[in-house]
Assembly symmetry: C2
Homo-oligomer: 642 residues x 2
């Protein structure tokens, strides 16, 4: 196998210093991780008990009782372990580390003699091991446990959980695989694909990589193995939970449109990208590009949300992007971030980083309240609480964030993303550093065996200025590639105060190849003028409407600022939009602009048309991801235009 050319940095080398993100990450550390630990131990007074730790105790023979929770309840423990491990990197915490060690010891005890590790099938249905791979989530839970093991190893150097998951995977390889006598199958919920590549990365055991490749290459071969399973659960009961729900409707290498459950889909695509990273397989790369094009140019909300139907939590059809009944699961946007990150490792294109950034700042952050204590599972782009709370076809949408979920996949997913955010800022390819995300940080690089530190000071995207300073003992020949987002027309670039010609490569990166000296300082300034955005005319729900975007930040109107009946408001796209810096939220300006509101002058339901009476108004917009933090009310991203 060829050596990987592009590398992701070690999280330990990257310190996030960004005021905004540090705040979010600290929330994960201070609020989410302790809160979820309590949740996993059923210590949250008004929440449904998780039972997740208890399940491990029962499986370990340390406690009596029955398994409780979802079939994938184990994954909550795994995701918590992963997030807590990342957190340890920046915030060493002996007590937390000891807790993790104890959980790992418990997991070890719950592991069966043959290596099997899954509390649901150990405790509740031991006779059904591997009988319901399409819906049983065994491989999914294994994947999350592997990711936790890798994270804890990277954080502490301890191999305790690595050993457990290696034993488990080695056992799995005696059951599942291409060889005769084994089950030829693939995960119902992809996740282990990318996890196995991570396990390969830390163990250098080629067999783990090969198992991942097998899952990808086996996937969707017809007739699908899932059709043969007798215990299909929800499967195939209706078309929305059919084979395409699992991306198993046709051989994966023939799939060029994103189908089915959105989280499954993007986790899978991230897994394929991991395979391509190491194999440079051109066919898979071209296919990933087609899938990327399909998702981001036909099936993605402007917020980076994906999945436009609640039933099946899934992709539907090109341009079918209803705002009020969107699914746009927080986890799906997180999965899109995972996928984009891996696409950047294959090839640095600003499009990948733009989407990553858009999903991160909008579709992911909207999943968590500003105080880090409440969550959205579903992230609609339009809410009228009376309808959202009433209509049956809105039943999957909440009009307010809630404290926790029976199916609690999203909060710990936000936590593990936030606590590992450093992984998304850079990639490096020999002496070239690709700078994807502008986030205040201080990072150690090794270029031709020399150390160099890049320190970035910025409040981007609240403001447009990014300052990057090099610290190096010796002069270093290095190419810096700074992403020019597609929305930015002409950034200005200075080095040590001197204006530079902006040279942009094919991938959309500002390229600076030179010898860098200590204290060399780059000042990159983006024009953050708010823009009015329209969508493809085939998007029925957005026709005649516009959205407001400033840099990567999508804005929305809330009832709190604009009154109710937001559909009565029309924005004037020709008049300038003003940044209200005295109305900042976490550094981000509110935006105001001109528009009109239709005045209701009588109560007749249907009447002969006459020009509506219009009142001039000034509207106020706030960043979409910050909506719903000031009580219940209407919200809309897409607004009618005059």
């Amino acid at each position: 196998m060829k050596a990987l050319k592009t590398k992701t940095l070690n999280l330990k080398d990257i310190e996030i210093t960004d005021e905004f993100w540090k705040g979010r990450i600290d929330l994960a550390k201070d609020i989410i991780i302790p809160y979820q630990w309590d949740a996993l131990n059923d210590q949250i007074p008004d929440a449904a008990p998780s039972h997740a730790i208890k399940n491990f105790e029962i499986a370990a023979g340390l406690s009596d009782g029955e398994f409780k929770g979802m079939v994938f309840q184990d994954s909550d423990v795994a995701k918590w372990l992963e997030a807590a491990s990342y957190s340890l990197i920046y915030h060493p915490d002996k007590e937390l580390e000891q807790t993790i060690d104890e959980v790992i010891e418990l997991i070890g005890k719950a592991q069966q003699d043959d290596g099997y590790l899954n509390t649901y099938f150990t405790v509740k249905e031991p006779e059904k091991r591997w009988a319901d791979i399409s819906h049983g989530h065994e491989l999914y839970c294994a994947g999350h446990m592997i990711e936790a093991a890798v994270a804890y190893y990277n954080a502490t150097g301890k191999k305790s959980l690595i050993d457990i998951v290696c034993r488990y995977v080695d056992y799995i390889m005696t059951i599942i695989g291409p060889e005769q006598g084994k089950i030829q199958t693939y995960p119902g919920h992809p996740e282990i694909e990318l996890a196995l590549v991570r396990l390969y990365e830390v163990t250098q055991e080629q067999r783990y990589f090969e198992l991942s490749r097998y899952f990808v290459e086996e996937r969707g071969n017809q007739p699908s193995v899932f059709l043969e399973e007798e215990t299909l659960g929800l499967g195939h009961q209706d078309k929305w939970f059919g084979l395409d729900y699992h991306q198993a409707h046709q051989p994966l290498n023939e799939q060029t449109t994103a189908e089915g459950h959105a989280v499954r889909a993007v986790y899978l695509y991230a897994g394929i990208a991991d395979i391509v990273k190491y194999t440079q397989n051109k066919k898979w790369k071209i296919q990933l590009e087609k899938l990327w094009e399909n998702v981001t140019q036909k099936r993605m909300y402007i917020t980076g949300g994906i999945g436009s139907q609640g039933h099946g939590e899934r992709f539907t059809l090109d341009y079918d992007l209803p705002n009020n009944v969107a699914y746009a699961e927080t986890c799906a946007s997180i999965g899109l971030v995972f996928w984009a990150q891996r696409m950047l490792q294959i090839e640095a294109k600003n499009d990948y980083a733009d989407v990553l950034e858009k999903a991160l700042y909008n579709g992911v952050l909207s999943g968590m309240s500003l105080d880090g204590k409440k969550y959205f599972y579903v992230n609609p782009l339009e809410v009228a609480p009376e309808l959202t709370d009433y209509r049956h076809d809105h039943v999957h949408v909440e009009s307010e964030r809630v404290g926790w979920f029976g199916c609690a996949c999203c909060p710990p997913n936000v936590a593990r993303l936030l606590t590992s955010l450093g992984n998304y800022i850079y990639t490096q390819k020999s002496d070239t550093i690709y700078h994807h995300l502008y986030i205040g940080n201080k990072t150690n690089f090794t270029i031709n065996k020399q150390n160099i530190v890049l320190q970035q000071k910025t409040t981007y995207p609240a403001t447009g200025e990014v300052r990057i300073t090099c610290f190096t003992e010796n002069e270093v020949q290095m190419t810096l590639k700074l992403r020019k987002p597609k929305w930015s027309n002409s950034p200005s670039l200075k080095v040590n105060g001197e204006l530079q010609e902006v040279v942009i490569d094919n991938g959309g990166y500002i390229t600076m190849e030179r010898k860098w000296r200590d204290n060399d300082t780059i000042c990159l300034t983006f024009d953050m003028t708010p823009k009015v955005i329209s969508s493809h005319p085939k998007v029925r729900e957005n026709v005649g409407k516009v959205a407001i975007q400033r840099g990567p930040i999508v804005y929305c109107l809330e009832e709190k600022d604009n009154g109710g009946q937001l559909h009565s408001i029309c924005i004037n796209p020709k008049l300038p939009i003003t940044e209200e810096n005295d109305l900042q939220i976490l550094g981000f300006p509110a935006l105001t602009g001109s528009g009109v509101r239709e005045v209701n002058d009588n109560d007749t339901l249907y009447r002969e048309y006459r020009e509506p009476e219009l009142k001039q108004i000034k509207w106020k917009a706030i960043p979409y991801s910050f909506w719903g933090n000031r009580g219940k009310g209407e919200m809309a991203v897409w607004l009618r235009k005059i």
Copy 2:
């Protein structure tokens, strides 16, 4: 009880001569009634067997086997009997009459010794008689059988079925009623209320009227009796099937908004109106007016469709009228016609007749294909087949009419309405004749013991001219009240060629009080200029949109005439609309007008806004109820305006 002042004419006295309606009625006679007879006897090759006649044979002890079909399968037989009876009035048919007699004989044999008559509970769950009144449909089926009995008696003078239903109702009155020892309850699905009044009308047995009044007055008293039932079926499993689904959430006399299942609601309101007709109860009358206002000014589609959610087939919230996921069941519009008819019997107001006419021409007729062979259960106002056929939240909507339904309530309901259409044209109050619907007909009246015939020749509403000629041996003092629809500004009125001053009463009826002579001819001409209609600004789905209406006929655009992506079309409401009389469908002109279509110039999903490129177009609209007769394609009633 006071005598009823306003009377509905005897169907035998009214001959429908209208070319358009005769065609529709003949379809009912020639197609629906024979087809459904075959369906009831499981003789339709590719349709799910109805089993309805077979159920009666089993209940009668004439056949072996199990009950099959819906719990309310008996009502299909009853509605067929009712429609077939009306049909006999205009088209005597010995063979059909004999068939009906045989069915009635069979029903008589299926009736139990105690008078009970319901094949489901007789054959399948005899121990559960009256145990599930909220969902068991026993009283509903009884109601339809009563209506059939009344219709057959009116058509033939035969009392065979009247005797059966009287025995049944007399038995019911031993089980249910206000007296101690009986069940204090009311129907889960209203229908028997209005049926009992019809039974009272032909039998003059006050007790039947009183039972109806009891059902109305008992309804919704809290705690609801439905909560006590153990076998609740669907009931109370979610909020959309709760007590309000049955209009049982509060005492009926406190209900002022239309809630729950739309068909249930309007059948019930029609039943209340029947009570008011005889009791002149002012409180109930005021309440009906409030309910009418709520339904028609806050919860009704422009087509006269009601029920804006598939789940629960129900009313939702004021102004919540989504076009593509509408329910707008054909039966609900028929129920609205029933209710409006009875409101007109209480008080002649053009608003009642306008809504009746609107529902009839749009929401009801849309339920049947032009050839009478295919049906819509659900009547959406916007269809894009790819979405309608795909999305889960559109699962209740069909993008094309279908041959029959497992739950076949709508087709026979259309049939019984069409074959009794004469009942909706006039009411009479001593020497005043109220003329509600302009439909070609020839009708015998008795005014002060003198016969007078009014013959109406018209192709209204295809054209605006109505000619009414009196035929009378002697001069007759009579007041003619001709409805002036609210959409008509200034009709012209001539009598014997001489222009008359148009005098309009408080109810919106053109009033002509005079001595009428043989051959006196009224010529009433309405301006049928097509109008552009807008809806209340709180209707989110219609904001910025307009509809086209000509007289009572709502128009729509179809893909067949205008290409797909109808949401890309904007209508110019300021430019005139042209009637295309060379493009008539059943006499109705197509309409054309000017507009624009947004041209798609690139494939980017989200882009910086610029003025869209617009192509001038000429759009073509056809009557809404005629849509979907030329193959599958998009349809929209509400269109964006420039």
